[in-house]
């Protein structure tokens, strides 16, 4: 009799637990419904994000190509300017020779001296144009650095697209589209101040003054 009572008590306890579970479940249902609603509203958003990523990824090679075109166009234009500079420099050189020859025949003449002085100024200016055209090489290295960054962004986005869609990006960019490591200097600057050159000169002097073994030269620079 005692044992039967205990069993009944156990059943009632279990029923009580079950009741509590149902009450808890009733409370949980609206929360679960809210989660489902949220998921349903999020799916189109995620699909949209996925589409945008795929779209952006497909546009990246075009941006890189455009940057390469800028580099090529500036190189062509710089070569054209250098052709003109060479032509003018040759003309100036022959003018200078002719004026020198007139000067040697006629002797000192103020106008001739003035003209020769002007020609020398033009020569210096032509050389300054040539020096300034080094900016093309420096900016092309900066653009290569940007293309290198674009490449790493494209690789990350392609990997993200692959994870989201389980599909490989079919648009494989040309090998020549992106610059390889080491072919450019990301820190290239068009800076005419001579600080870097002064640093070079001091280090070269230091090296040249220590006419020692390579091991000692390495030691000399070990803490630089």
């Amino acid at each position: 009799m005692m044992e039967q009572k205990t069993n009944m008590e156990n059943i009632f306890d279990k029923l009580g637990d079950l009741k509590s579970f149902f009450i808890y479940g009733q409370k949980l249902i609206p929360i679960l419904q809210k989660i489902i609603d949220f998921m349903q509203s999020t799916v189109p958003l995620l699909e949209n994000v996925n589409r945008e990523i795929q779209d952006s990824t497909s546009k990246i090679p075009k941006a890189a190509l455009q940057i390469n075109r800028v580099t090529n166009a500036t190189e062509v234009a710089t070569t054209e300017i250098l052709d003109v500079v060479d032509g003018v420099s040759m003309d100036i050189h022959s003018m200078k020779d002719k004026l020198q020859s007139i000067k040697s025949r006629m002797g000192e003449d103020d106008d001739l001296v003035t003209l020769l002085g002007m020609i020398e100024k033009i020569e210096t200016r032509m050389m300054n144009i040539t020096i300034s055209l080094q900016v093309q090489d420096i900016t092309s290295q900066q653009l290569s650095s940007v293309n290198h960054l674009i490449q790493s962004i494209q690789e990350k986005l392609s990997s993200l697209v692959k994870d989201l869609t389980n599909k490989e990006n079919k648009e494989i960019p040309s090998i020549d589209l992106y610059p390889r490591d080491g072919t450019f200097n990301a820190d290239a600057r068009y800076d005419k101040n001579s600080k870097s050159q002064e640093l070079v000169d001091s280090l070269v002097t230091k090296r040249n003054n220590s006419k020692t073994s390579q091991e000692e030269i390495d030691k000399l620079f070990a803490n630089q």
């Binding site: 190189e75 710089t78 070569t79 250098l82 500079v85 060479d86 050389m127 040539t130 020096i131 300034s132 055209l133 080094q134 900016v135 093309q136 090489d137 420096i138 092309s140 290295q141 390889r180 080491g182 072919t183 450019f184 200097n185 820190d187 290239a188 600057r189 068009y190 800076d191 005419k192 870097s196 050159q197 640093l199 070079v200 280090l203 070269v204 090296r207 040249n208 390579q214 030269i217 390495d218 620079f221 630089q224």
Partner: protein, 126 residues
């Protein structure tokens, strides 16, 4: 003895500017290469080359690798090498000097600096 330069740079513009600068300071003899690999071919096939002016950042074989390759060959141990590059950081300069470049110019450069460095190298070799 006239100097015959090997100008090594992947930039057409820079090769032209270096060549023009050499002409301005009175040097007319030069050959060109667009990377370190081509430079080695030219150097090995032209006995008259007696001065190398090289950039650092180039495809195939970089300027620094070119310097190391040249210096590793006993025949070229004393060959003057001038590096002309955009790399102006201390660690870069030190690395180039350790690789045994004779001198170093940071771009942008002037023909005067080029002349000064060439003369320094030639006078210290004499």
């Amino acid at each position: 003895m006239a100097l015959k330069f090997l100008i090594v740079d992947d930039s057409v513009t820079m090769r032209r500017i270096v060549a023009n600068s050499l002409k301005t300071i009175g040097h007319e003899l030069f050959v060109e290469a667009s990377d370190g690999k081509e430079a080695m071919v030219k150097l090995n096939s032209d006995e008259e080359i007696n001065f190398v002016i090289t950039d650092w950042n180039m495809p195939e074989v970089s300027g620094l690798e070119l310097v190391r390759t040249i210096r590793a060959n006993e025949k070229y141990v004393a060959l003057p090498i001038l590096m002309v590059t955009t790399r102006g950081l201390k660690e870069d300069i030190v690395e180039a000097l350790q690789a045994k470049v004779n001198n170093y110019i940071v771009k942008p450069f002037t023909p005067q600096i080029l002349k000064e460095k060439i003369e320094q190298i030639i006078s210290s070799a004499a």
